[in-house]
């Protein structure tokens, strides 16, 4: 699925990365705890989060996250936007809550970047 389709499904606003809407995504990870994102999220996944500070962008850069989806209508700080522009990481914001965001994407074929933590470690 392209980021453009993700944007449409979530009725999202693109804050950074308008030029990357053709990027292909298949998996996602959702959490507000960055240490969990670091432990479990996989390269090329969407990151669904309610956290808006620059560390979300840093974490995404470290993991090669495809795009950040801010849930619950969150708007990032100017510092977060600047850093995302600099590191070329798309940020979208949706008014759907985390559960709805995940459900709507799952229904359309996006799956978790892993099913259960006891079956698979985040190391690719």
């Amino acid at each position: 699925m392209t980021l453009r389709e993700v944007k449409d499904i979530l009725d999202a606003e693109v804050l950074v990365g308008q030029e990357q809407m053709d990027k292909d995504v298949r998996t996602a990870f959702g959490a507000d705890l960055m240490s969990d994102v670091l432990a479990f999220a996989k390269a090329g996944s969407l990151l669904l989060t309610g956290l808006t500070n620059p560390q979300v962008v840093r974490t995404s850069d470290v993991l090669d996250i495809a795009a950040i989806i801010l849930v619950r209508g969150k708007k990032p700080s100017p510092e977060t936007l600047t850093l995302a522009e600099e590191l070329k990481i798309p940020i979208l914001t949706t008014k759907y809550i985390l559960f709805e965001t995940a459900g709507r994407l799952y229904q359309r074929g996006i799956v978790g970047c892993m099913e259960r933590v006891d079956e698979e470690r985040a190391r690719p």
């Binding site: 240490s35 390269a43 956290l51 620059p54 560390q55 840093r58 470690r121």
Partner: protein, 151 residues
Amino acid sequence: MLAHETTLYENQFPVEGGNFDKAGQVSSQIKAILKRMNLSNEIIRRVALVSYESEINIVSYARKGYIHIQVKPDYVLIEAIDEGDGIPDLELAMQQGWSTASQRIREMGFGAGMGLCNIKNFSDFFRISSDVGKGTQLKMVIKIDKVFDGI
């Protein structure tokens, strides 16, 4: 000189304690350098992750410190050395969920007592030592070559 003794890259990056705005900058920098070195994405990702959690720790808990990185043909060595209060009980600090993090650190999405566990899990070799009142030293190795068997 043997091939595995060749140093392909080596550098030391200062990290400022308490400067949350800059937290992660060094790790982004290290990642960009490794990308130019033709290493695999998985190795780069693990080095960046280990470096990033270490950097967050220095910013969160120490007065100042540095991250030292050395790339050899067989492995990447990452050291995170800081000047700070140190850790009185290392066994406790290594327990998942144990943390002394401030509200500020938690607001950033860290401080849940996972950093050191993450660092250990993503490294092939991990050693921590600490002197109370002086600082903490982390040493991590990420293997590039399968036959590598220690430093």
